[in-house]
Assembly symmetry: C3
Homo-oligomer: 655 residues x 3
């Protein structure tokens, strides 16, 4: 199978979405001039070009794209060629209303925006396959082609009738019999027993809370249907170009796709990353997504989209201050990216995203944005040969599973204050601030290579996952679990005792009497720190090795944290400093050390291959102790024992 290295060829890719069909053709030479000046070596073409390529049903209009492919090739710029299936032309919905999705309330999502396609529509799939086939046939052997990009940010739901039919078939495949489905869904509750398959619908509008397992299965089904759409197009291009890698860009930690499963179907894992420049923890948010994507890719990955300046979909869209685009781009490289790309090359003058920045902003060549892009391009070219293809490794794995997330966001749960991504981010933040490099893993993955495994919150755990965790601890691993872990089985059925008995035994929990969720802004005192979000009324087994008790209140003296041997259970969310200190201690016990000691608070350090990246996320200059002698690839200078970083400064150090 091809992979990212087939496209990078020992460089870092640099470039972005290029939508020249929005501009008069006279602009193209200027684009090329500016691209070359900025070191752009990769552009993505055709992401939303369906109505240009197929202006009327069955017609083909490839001339403009031919010229562009040639133009790119002539100028040494590789092309990531996209299938246009994310946004069908208006005529598709007009002639074939069955291609349009419906939301849970029955509203049709019409053309005029984007992504108005039903993943379940046979008609849509047929048209998407046809244009994909023709694109692959026409450009498969074009020398500019370096990668295929299927669709864009798959993210649609459909509750319509064709989706209902596919949902029923999906359920038949999963459960075999109606009895099995009725058992799995617990339809004895509220008189929901199905007597025929035809009675089953997507979870459309209802009077009150819907069946949780129906909702869970509908999420599974949706991820699978989108994946079917992806696979169908991938297989078409792969047939034409078995040597060209294929990708589809993820939105980071988007709830709708089981990215573990998706990544296995991709040659290149790519992601779109847009932290808020104003978020004081924006860099940590970036690091989390980068760690997650690297773990899905099991090697180098592609930053498909980021913004050189502001985006346009927040309430208030802040630009990137001077230096931030460079800093965050190099952070991605440090954490495994072999491609640093943007949406988009030249900022649009029209359409819904005209206030989303481009590498060339409205201010044009003279603008600060392009000038910084140009500087970055030069630097990426300089470090590319040293970094491309190299790996980052970690001794810690954080467990994450979409199915568990899906099961945990139902109505009727104990606390709507518990937000899964926020909990995941809180635990990752503690590790990030402790300079402990981490991978992400699925709970059923082989964990034996890790010294420390952390499950911030795995509400749903399969039996296989539970056995995996227990085996991991048994073979010597250290495991830390957060609250609301091991509560439900694969069908979102609460396990007897409110937590799986094997896990309770693992942690030394005799009885979990009650969950005590906390209100917004409330905290609970523990011995040495405060907890937020959650607490629990736990009776420990005598066999427990160590506990940290709650102090005061109704839970006074009961264990907030339990340890039995190498297995830890944390029944609240410790405040950030406390969680960082706890994990630092647990990591040290597990022989896991930070990347560097004595780092200033604003500095991040990451190793990739034999390189050490040191990044200053602060606005003040800092001096960072780096024992020994290194060569800074960015400044081409020797660094002895310490390196000085300006605001947003970066050093890429080779021993």
């Amino acid at each position: 199978m091809p992979n990212l290295s087939d496209a990078t060829r020992a460089r870092l890719l640099f470039g972005g979405d290029y939508n020249p069909e929005q501009w008069p053709e006279e602009t193209w030479p200027d684009d090329v001039r500016l691209m070359k000046a900025a070191g752009v070596n990769s552009v993505t073409l055709g992401v939303f070009s369906w109505s240009e390529l197929e202006p009327a049903p069955g017609e083909r209009n490839f001339g403009w794209l031919d010229r562009l492919m040639d133009l790119m090739h002539e100028n040494g710029i590789g092309v990531v060629l996209a299938t246009p299936s994310a946004s069908p032309p208006p005529w598709l919905g007009r002639l074939h209303p069955d291609t349009l999705p419906r939301d849970a309330d029955g509203r049709i999502e019409l053309w005029g925006g984007r992504q108005h396609f039903s993943h379940s529509s046979a008609t849509y799939r047929r048209y998407a396959a046809a244009i994909t086939e023709d694109l692959a046939a026409r450009y498969g052997s074009h020398p500019a082609l370096t990668m295929w990009h299927i669709n864009n940010e798959y993210c649609t739901f459909d509750y319509g009738d064709e989706a209902a039919e596919r949902f029923r078939n999906w359920l038949k495949a999963r459960y075999g019999t109606l009895d099995a489905l009725n058992t799995a869904w617990g339809t004895a509750f509220w008189s929901q027993r199905y007597d025929t398959w035809s009675g089953i619908l997507p979870p459309r509008h209802a009077h009150y809370m819907k069946n949780p397992t129906q909702l869970l299965d509908f999420r599974r089904f949706t991820s699978d249907m989108l994946l079917e759409c992806y696979v169908a197009e991938r297989d078409i291009v792969r047939r034409h170009t078995p040597h060209i890698p294929v990708t589809s860009n993820f939105m980071p930690l988007w709830i709708g796709q089981d990215a573990w499963r998706w990544a296995a179907e991709e040659d290149v894992v790519s992601v779109d990353l847009y932290p808020d420049p104003r978020d004081p923890l924006g860099a940590q948010q970036g690091a989390l997504v980068q760690d997650m994507t690297r773990s899905q890719a099991r090697g180098p990955w592609m930053l498909m989209e980021q913004a050189a300046g502001p985006v346009n979909w927040r309430g208030v869209n802040h630009p990137k201050p001077r230096g931030l685009n460079r800093l965050w781009s190099l952070q991605a490289v440090a954490r495994g990216a072999d491609a640093v790309c943007y949406f988009q090359w030249r900022q649009s003058r029209q359409g819904a995203e005209k206030f989303h920045s481009g590498m060339v902003s409205h201010a044009g060549e003279r603008g600060r944005t392009y000038q910084e892009v140009k500087q970055l391009g030069a630097e990426l070219a300089a470090i590319g040969p040293h970094v491309s293809g190299s790996h980052s490794t970690a001794d810690i794995a954080v467990l994450h599973d979409w199915h568990s997330w899906w099961a945990g966001v139902q109505d009727g749960r104990l606390s709507t204050e518990v937000d899964y991504p926020a909990v995941l981010r809180a635990w990752h933040r503690a590790l990030w601030e402790a300079h402990l490099t981490t991978d992400f893993a699925h709970p059923e993955h082989d964990l034996t290579g890790y010294s420390l495994v952390i499950a911030p919150q795995l509400y749903l755990l399969t039996d296989a996952a539970i056995e995996n965790l227990i085996a991991y601890v048994r073979q010597g691993g250290t495991l830390v679990c957060g609250f609301l872990t091991g509560v439900a089985d694969e069908d979102d059925r609460v396990r007897p005792g409110g937590m799986d008995a094997r896990l309770r035994d693992l942690f030394g929990i005799r009885t979990l009497h009650e969950w005590w969720p906390l209100d917004a802004g409330e905290s609970v005192s523990c011995d040495g720190f405060d907890g937020t979000l959650w607490s629990e009324e736990i009776e420990a087994e005598p066999s427990v090795t160590e506990t940290i008790p709650y102090k005061g209140g109704e839970l006074d003296g009961l264990p907030a944290v339990l340890r039995k041997g190498r297995a830890w259970y944390v029944s609240t969310l410790p405040e950030p400093d406390a969680l960082r200190e706890l994990l630092t201690r647990v990591a040290a016990d597990a022989q896991v050390r930070p990347v560097l000691d004595g780092l200033p608070a604003t500095v991040e350090a990451v190793r990739r291959g034999d390189l050490l990246f040191v990044l200053n996320h602060g606005r003040e200059p800092v001096t960072v102790p780096v024992p020994g002698t290194h060569h800074d690839l960015l400044t081409d200078t020797t660094v002895q024992d310490e390196v000085r970083l300006d605001r947003y400064g970066v050093a890429v150090l080779k021993p």
Copy 2:
């Protein structure tokens, strides 16, 4: 007519909803063992069992229920048998879409949740009647049967076409002629005059504010349609078992049902009660509902549902701290309950309510929740013979009317800050904190037995109600009315002068110049206290006996409170302490005394029959002065002049 005593037979009922169809049959003997250990003597079966009982149209599957009825009987546990009509099986909606309700926007409420039935659907009613008929025929003579429970928490609206047709018929019956309807609805406003009955619709989506009387009548109609559904099923079971009492459980102070009218159709008035364990005034909220339900029942009533621990439908669902379940259960008994029941016996492992607690929680037998339930069962058994069937009486009546509430919640009112239930609760709180026991009454009820009548807010008053109030004062009663009382007539037509002239005369109001609603968080100074929510620009008659003026601001010197003889008008909402002091004074003048003097702030005292219940809602122990000698039924000890209560402690004292 049968009543609750036919089911209690000199005991207190203890138990709850039992949904064994959600569990493997092997669990049932364990259920019985735990029930018996906990003193459970009543379970409710079949509330949501329709799809089990009728798995396909016209089929019957009674075997499992036969075995359960026998099992319960063998173990001395009575059965409250429910008709399953609250949640039709999926096949009903699939085969008969006319049974599904529509909301005001036309969205169909589909199966997959619960209560997806149209109260107006003839098809639904026919199927519901048929299964009710068969249940009654089969179990009418079963020795376990103690009560019928019709449907569950009737609470649906329907704006669909069949509801429209029934609405028109309901209107024809109410008004007789279109002219009468046009007059009542004031259709001369905004060109809304109807020229045919067929032009009248439920108040579906409109461009701007809808006709207020149409909205009011649609609420009346909805309550009546739900009542028709209830009565139809009640009449079926009554035909089979004239000796078995019938109930349907209310949600407390739910806006949709005119519970005064409903209670008149029930043999047993039952209610579901779920104060938030975190609400500092949760006990008062409980007391209000208990007083209301007792007043509707005109005697002992049934607490059909409460939670042994947390519910699962709030944002954050808090468990009950140790002792709170017992305290609030005994409070219900103190205020007239002869049945203390729960939703549900064993916490579900699946479905939308798996995080709603049960008497047996996920933690099982060993869990604190079950252990406390068991203790409570023993105590209820001990006091049962002393309390069952006895009455509570009160000298004070608080007036409440659903029609007035309905008329007052329209769009286009003067202040959306005025929340009727909150105002009602504020006045009840003042009385509760003053240890003044109170009933609730409808404004047209006979009030002559009360020394003091309070109308917190009766925006709509019929002529009959006005005459009733005036007659009550004339015969020597003391009346206190809050603001926004007597504004509208039965058709929500503002009475000339903005308040009925007879009432203005009663209170000594010459002219009500303007209403001055207050903003959120705003208060108005009065002589001696602050008011919130509302104020009024009133010109008093010379004949007024006493006034308390506003101080400062635009209303300076004008009367905030007026008294003319025994009739009081309070044109603002005094802050809690002031309202309590005002009502304490008015009560004293009317010769109404608190239950006990010198009670600590956290203590509630209630008399029922010859028993005195003393309840400590605080978390600190208190000593309560109780003059004389009493026997505490809970501790089987003698109490002399004072009783010490632990945190959440209760004494049930017999002279």
Copy 3:
């Protein structure tokens, strides 16, 4: 063409909407008695009388209106006769569902409220024309008739199929070819290219952001369709009564109508004005609307609706304190109103607006509201001959354009904190507080008569408008522009550089690097003041005359305010005091002086014709310096050098 003076005949009109069909006919003589006592000389009849006039399709019921017209005439009260087309009878929607509008989600807006008509429905237009024709024929020569009032507060949108068809035709007329439309809408973005006219829809529900130019054109289309409805009815009545002026009442600064275009089609410009009596800047809000309306009318205008007391559509609806109704009414006269009218004469007892005040409130004749109305009527009669028909002039124009507003409120913009009307109001407030009288103007209007022109925010500017502004400065005018001006062209296409190059040159802006919108509550330091909402990263040209820099933060030292000659650019929103001081300085430089010097903070002064209005908006008495000798028309006294005003006091001074 007739105009307002044909109705006023040297008086001020005083009166309001009169809806006697809501009352028994016995009430009418009492109405007349109270009207005459109050000096009412004008009533508006028939605004919502369609179902009374046409109780069934094609029927006519004019008798009651005949009697009213006669009654008014007999009593010397003129009639503004309304066409009833704002609220069709229920039968119209029932028999012709095509007359009902749909919202973007497809929901039908049904009868039962008001304004449930589709502006695009041929059937609706036909029925509206027919009743208008008959009204005009019957009452065109009635001596009571003084003015025609078409419809009421046009304010509906329609996304239905007939609207879609008209939208397509409107687009064909605007663009001629599909290519032109595709270019204007930028449909190359997101694959939105239209291959047939029939594929174009109103901007209905979509998955994600809709096409901005489609949204902009749909707003243009909606304004035009409503205007077509108006013009159709206007032309009918004009044919019958060419001598009678015609109006339709605006809602102040309502987003849906391009009132510049509308005003050109009206004989009389009228507006409905309802500042919140609790708004500390309510008087400024009033002044803004009055200035805007006067500018649209280019002379005297009509205050069609205001409230004598509270309205009923806010969350909390406050009454008017004593004197406020008089104060604000005289303010309207000061700023050009020749008619002071109310919704409505007598407060309704029924319907959705029964808590909206009337000139005769629920309290009736004795109520404070009517008593104050009566006083005001006498005063208006006294000053009428001195003021009616006279003009106000201003040296300053504030630019405002609906199309620019429409383009700026799209999804996907840089900041949702930027609220166009709030920005407009902030700039007007600065002028109002500086006692600088201002007109409003469209950016393409002839501006040569003004000494100072201010564009608070004109995001979209046509080329013609840009050239107009540049020419204005070139010929010696002073221009001040706020941020987000000149960004987009007529099709909402961002101009290269992010601001039109001609404007950048005008202000001395070399490069606009990035917009820096501010978060809610955030401010940015500038030299001498703080800014809110917005900031910009601007590189000035050397040719710039003067700058005020940002201080600290990322923009430290960059220009916040630039001046090049007489052209100012303000890249943030200065806090109120700073903006007032800035504009005071700029005005002084442009030789524009306040109305009076030394005015107390609470006092407003306005000249109209040769009269000087002095209004105290404070609750404390003040003494106002008024150099020279004047005659106060209200008190009939001589004022020498200063006048004392009580709380809410007014003086109308004649030299």
